[in-house]
């Protein structure tokens, strides 16, 4: 440590020294040091499997390290569970949320700690409400406290969790609590993201924040220090002002990226034949009639803000939603709307945004997931042949470079990037002609992203037409050959993105907002 000297005046709140944690067959953390100082935001980055989540679990007492020391405010501690951690002022805002959906904001805020609001043996709603307003003020949540958490937006839920952690630390009299935020922005809109970071910046005055994110941009912009993990070891730490994204990526992956990360050199000129034709497609309350077409081998990126109607257009194409009017034709053949099985039969595939709940059978093996669409081709005398099935799986595991011990590995045991590659392999192995990709690189590390771009290029080379919606505008521009821009339910613009002559994000952003 000690590479960074700008913070010498600050005192450490939380110190992990030489942490070792191993699981059967693998050392997840191999002598990791991790320090959080008072009043700072520290960014933690690393590929999937680098040990970030193991480290976080140790921080909040979900698991115990095999070796190494953990001290808080200078005193060594042993945490048995997250409740211990909360009592000592260390808490985590989970990616998937840890609130009780059918209880109200207020009830969630004080869950399990209502005892302080007891008046004459009963809970005083009034006292709770007052405390709730006070607790929610710093995170700028002013909505009705009686709303059930299930009816609030992800942004509000996140704020309630943050407020709860701050309130708990005051309850237990800890001055500088440590808040851990795991991928806080994946569920947020652009505006909410800005709000979150401005709130975090203020909270910094009374707390320390550990920020984990795959979006290096927001890590670099919002943290004071960046700590990089690779293969369960500390690689380095940087002051934020010194950190550059390419440099961080290089250290995370261990090699530098080509400048051509979206593989523009492989971008093919789409064929002349129209593959998908959408005519006067409309859905009330979501989008006005839209007309467009996609050619063979063409990657069309659909961009627009949340609420622009782009998601709904895609859902109508893949049959997940039923449009009110208009038609969708693939290769000249009209599709009957509103049926995913009809869409898949006609050759339209979908790569969903949430691979765990919509893309994979997590409890089933890699082979079973990959072969889902091609079982008919793996039959001998009418019955599925295990040998053919294994062969097919191995072929696509190789083709998509899925890292797995074997084709019978259960998908739940794969990393996010490899799970996503499995979803792509599933569609790649079937003879689909058209693919809708909903945020194909969400939540996967930089290494896996490269692979996914490679696969998308391969699909295009094979003549598959695609509509993509990406995580960032840069990714959209880099990948697509043409961009369609939607705003308020209408198609408002179109922009060609030929290789090496790509428009800049600033040219497009004006059309989006």
């Amino acid at each position: 440590m000690g590479k960074y000297d700008g913070m010498t005046a600050k005192r450490p709140v939380l110190e992990l020294r030489r942490i070792i944690k191993s699981y059967p067959g693998v050392v997840a953390l191999d002598g990791v040091d991790f320090t959080v100082y008072e009043n700072e935001i520290v960014g933690l980055v690393g590929e999937n499997g680098a040990g970030k989540s193991t480290l976080m679990k140790i921080l909040i007492g979900l698991i115990q390290p095999d070796k190494g020391s953990y001290s808080l405010r200078g005193e060594p501690v042993t945490l048995r569970d997250p409740a211990d951690a909360a009592r000592l002022g260390v808490g985590m805002v989970f990616q998937e949320g840890s609130l009780v959906p059918n209880l109200s904001i207020m009830e969630n805020l004080f869950l399990c700690h209502e005892i302080g609001f007891r008046r004459f043996g009963f809970l005083s709603k009034r006292a709770m409400r007052q405390a709730a307003y006070a607790a929610l003020a710093p995170v700028k949540v002013g909505s009705d406290l009686e709303i059930a958490i299930a009816d609030t937006t992800p942004a509000v839920r996140q704020m309630v969790e943050i407020a709860r952690l701050l309130w708990l630390s005051r309850l237990y009299n800890h001055k500088n609590p440590v808040l851990i935020l795991d991928e806080p922005t994946t569920v947020l809109t652009e505006n909410e993201r800005e709000t979150l970071f401005s709130i975090l910046d203020q909270i910094k005055n009374q707390a320390s924040i550990v920020l984990i994110s795959h979006r290096l941009q927001e890590i670099v912009e919002n943290s004071d220090r960046v700590i990089i993990l690779k293969d369960g070891k500390n690689v380095t730490e940087l002051g934020a002002e010194r950190a550059s994204i390419p440099e961080i990526e290089k250290m995370m992956v261990g090699h530098s990226f080509e400048t051509d990360r979206y593989r523009e050199d492989e971008q093919v000129e789409p064929g002349n034949a129209t593959l998908l034709r959408v005519q006067k497609l409309s859905k009330r309350g979501a989008f006005e009639p839209v007309d467009f077409s996609v050619r063979r081998g063409e990657i069309v990126s659909l961009v627009g803000l949340v609420g622009s109607g782009k998601e709904e257009v895609c859902r109508c194409i893949t049959g997940l939603d039923k449009p009110d009017g208009g038609s969708i034709a693939l290769g000249g053949k009209k599709l009957s709307p509103g049926s995913p099985s009809e869409a898949v039969r006609s050759g339209i595939g979908n790569i969903p945004i949430d691979r765990r709940s919509e893309g994979l059978a997590l409890g089933m093996t890699l082979a079973e997931n990959i072969n889902l669409l091609v079982l008919d081709q793996l039959k001998v005398a009418g019955f599925i042949s295990p040998a053919l099935e294994r062969k097919s799986a191995m072929r696509w595991i190789g083709e998509c470079r899925i890292k797995s011990p074997s084709s019978s590995t259960v998908c739940a045991n794969l990393s996010g990037g490899n799970q996503q590659k499995t979803v792509i392999a599933k569609w790649l192995s079937s003879r689909i002609q058209f693919l809708v990709l909903d945020h194909p690189t969400r939540g996967v590390d930089v290494g896996a992203k490269e692979e996914i771009y490679r696969l998308i290029r391969k699909l295009a080379r094979d003549g598959v037409g695609m509509i993509v919606m990406c995580d960032t505008l840069e990714e959209d521009i880099g990948l697509c050959s043409r961009m369609l821009i939607m705003k308020d339910g209408r198609l408002v613009g179109e922009m060609a993105c030929p290789p090496y002559k790509k428009p800049s994000p600033s040219e497009i952003i004006g059309l989006i907002v």
Binding site: Y23, P24, G25, V26, A28, E47, N48, G49, A50, G51, S53, T54, D231, G232, T318, L320, P340, S341, E342, A343, V344, R345, N350, P352, S357, E358, G359, L360, A361, L362, G363, M364, E368, L372, L373, L375, D376, F383, I384, S385, K403, S404, P405, T409, V410, A412, N413, L414, S415, G417, N418, K426, G447
Partner: protein
């Protein structure tokens, strides 16, 4: 490849996963050894035959039940259906003779189909839907025959399909083996069988990948009806008569056989071999406790304990955040 190893291993639970079937099988072997130590006669040919016949009928209901559990549902109507099929079988045997067999199978298939339709079209959870249809079938059974009906002696010959022996082995066992083979092949080697696993594992993914989720679930319930129907015919033949409450014990027993074998109630994992081991464990327990002379009132407690222990061994908690 160090990266690859980390990728896949770092998120594995502490205990490397051992397939549930090994635990169940070990439990079965341990039980057999214990009972043999308690009474040498436990492994006599005569007693093994008794265990086999008892387990056979339970296994056939269980194999059907397993399909509904694999898709993440449950079939509580197997008891009512078995009772109904049993009395229909005994009564119709008098009038239509051998045609009673196909009639009963059709009745069972239709009942299973209706369960599937109520689940998928009326959209009522299978727990409630089959609780309802099970009740209806139970009462229909009592309406057809309020008291047990004996099969007329003249038709005993027809019952030899089940009661007879071939090459010195009971036909009942051959039939059971055939039913097992059928279910095993469906689940392992056919597309509709594989779809049962896909739907049980992730129904939304299955829908989005174009799998006919309605048809698959209906099919699973038809299979459950088939199992219950065949089991009811077997048992009725065995006791030379129909009984309007014959199925009652099989509701929970069939679920226990499936779960003890290591098929998860959450759906998506398990299979026919698991259910064989599960049914054998229950059969061995039932018989073994009598053979070694465990107090009759105490037997249920031990059985309950074995069910809890075996599920504790086989159930993969790592995939379920909260246990309900």
């Amino acid at each position: 490849m160090r990266d690859g190893a980390l990728d896949t291993m770092a998120i594995r639970p502490k205990r490397a996963r051992v397939p549930a079937i090994y635990f169940s099988f070990t439990l079965l072997v341990v039980l057999v050894l214990l009972f043999t130590l308690g009474n040498r006669n436990f492994i006599s040919a005569y007693n093994l035959n008794t265990i086999a016949s008892y387990s056979a009928i339970l296994l056939v209901v269980g194999l059907g039940q397993m399909n509904t559990i694999l898709i993440g549902g449950i079939d509580l109507s197997v008891g009512g259906l078995m009772s109904f099929v049993s009395v229909v079988f005994a009564v119709s045997l008098k009038t239509i003779g051998i045609w009673a067999f196909p009639l009963c199978i059709v009745v069972a298939l239709v009942a299973g189909y209706l369960n599937g339709v109520i689940l998928t079209r009326v959209k009522i959870p299978s727990f409630i839907a089959t609780l309802g249809t099970g009740g209806i079938l139970s009462s229909l059974a009592l309406l057809v025959a309020p008291l047990p009906v004996d099969v007329p002696a003249a038709t005993y010959g027809l019952l030899d399909i089940v009661n007879g022996t071939t090459l010195g082995i009971s036909n009942l066992l051959f039939l059971t083996l055939a039913v097992f083979g059928l279910f095993y092949v469906i689940l392992r080697f056919t597309k509709v069988g594989r779809n049962i696993y896909y739907v049980g594992s992730n129904i939304k993914m299955s829908w989005m990948s174009g799998i006919d989720i309605v048809g698959t679930r209906i099919f699973a319930f038809i299979l459950s009806g088939l199992g219950a129907g065949i089991a009811a015919i077997m048992q009725s033949c065995n006791q030379y008569g129909g009984e309007p409450t014959l199925g009652n014990v099989y509701i929970l027993q069939s679920i226990a056989a499936v779960v003890v074998g290591g098929t998860a109630l959450t759906g998506g994992t398990g299979g026919a071999i698991n259910t064989v081991v599960g049914a054998l464990i229950l059969g061995v327990m039932e018989n073994g406790m009598n053979v070694v002379g465990v107090d009759a009132y105490f037997q249920q407690s031990i059985l309950g304990l074995v069910i809890i222990v075996s599920v504790a061994l086989t159930f993969d908690r790592s995939k379920t955040a909260t246990i309900k």
